[in-house]
């Protein structure tokens, strides 16, 4: 039990929304990971669907590369749709 692998848990709160990462847990295999996720993360009816993913299967960006990865987007204001006149009567934009 000591070397149970780590699983990342994603819960879909309700139909039409995406699965959202809610946390992680340990379990010996995928079936038990799913059941543990049910016990740990949907105790209060938080979801209608659960995904569990082996944490080892996730390739993550490294904190050291944060600047190279994300900073260049910071000064490219033209990527944000702020240069358009809002048409009369257009709602929810």
């Amino acid at each position: 039990m000591r070397d149970n692998p780590l699983w990342e848990v994603f819960v879909r709160p309700r139909r039409g929304l995406s699965h959202t990462h809610v946390g992680s847990l340990h379990a010996p295999d995928a079936d038990l990971a799913l059941r543990n996720a049910r016990d740990l993360y949907t105790r209060r009816e938080e979801g209608v669907s659960i995904w569990v993913v082996p944490a080892a299967a996730i390739t993550a960006s490294s904190p050291q590369e944060k600047d190279a990865f994300f900073a260049p987007a910071g000064d490219k204001i033209y990527r944000h749709p702020t240069f358009y006149e809002m048409p009369e009567g257009a709602e929810h934009i």
Binding site: M1, N4, H26, D39
Partner: protein
């Protein structure tokens, strides 16, 4: 089948099961299992509260769930002996949960069906209908673990088989009141044991079939359990959080 002792028996089964499972709090092999066992204990406690409340109403002597849980002595408890045996190791707890949840699943299905028969059966049928989903999960949880332990390492297999051998004689008492439920129960339990590569004794080979729980005759273990369960309430009557 709504008489006081019948309902009391089912309530006591759930109460003692909850207490034995609660003993695992902070002792399970991992945090995740700790929470699962506590969840299941609380499900059983919830069922016990409803059943004992109903038993008190049927009795009509003014006893509520607390009076029944905390102020009865050992000989007045009506649970089967299977649920009061000490919690043992994890394999013992899982195999017992498999046997108990399989029984409760069959029983609650039947009781929920009795709804149509009489008005008197309705309150019990409503409790049973609510409990069905909960015990289905307890059955799933214990099935998952029984398979992993039985079909696991040499050590886990030995422990799981020991648990089946030790517990099997106590399962006969479950079907004293409703013998017709045993076939359905075997239909739930046998496939799990098969998948787990565990064996159980043939009925003809089981001569030791302890019984008496429904009449208030218990193993030596129940008294100690009740001492722990009841002492706070008895030392400080009416204590609240």
């Amino acid at each position: 089948m709504s008489d006081v002792n019948h309902v009391l028996g089912l309530g006591d089964d759930a109460l003692i099961t909850a207490q034995r499972l609660a003993e695992w709090s902070a002792r399970a092999h991992e945090l995740e299992e700790d929470i699962a066992l506590s969840n299941i204990a609380l499900d059983q406690l919830g069922q016990a509260r409803l059943l004992l409340t109903l038993a008190g109403e049927l009795e009509g002597a003014g006893r509520d769930e607390d009076a029944l849980a905390y102020l009865r002595d050992e000989r007045e408890f009506r649970n089967v002996q299977l649920v009061e045996l000490p919690r043992g190791d994890f394999a013992f707890t899982m195999v017992r949960m498999l046997f108990v949840a399989g029984y409760q699943a069959e029983l609650y299905l039947k009781l929920a069906d009795d709804d149509a028969d009489t008005v008197a059966a309705r309150p019990l049928a409503e409790i049973a209908a609510k409990a069905i989903k909960e015990v289905a999960y307890h059955l799933d949880h214990s099935s998952q673990w029984t398979v992993r332990l039985g079909d696991g390492t040499e050590e886990s297999r030995r422990r799981a088989q020991d648990a089946v051998d030790a517990l099997w004689p106590y399962t006969f008492e479950l079907f004293e009141t409703h013998p017709e439920l045993r076939e359905g129960w075997l239909g739930r339990v046998d496939p799990v044991l098969d998948t787990a590569t565990l064996t159980r004794p043939a009925d003809a080979d089981v001569t030791f079939r302890p019984r008496g729980g429904r009449d208030g005759v218990h193993t030596e273990h129940l008294g100690y359990l009740l001492a722990e369960l009841q002492h706070l309430h008895r030392s400080h009557p009416g204590a609240t959080w």
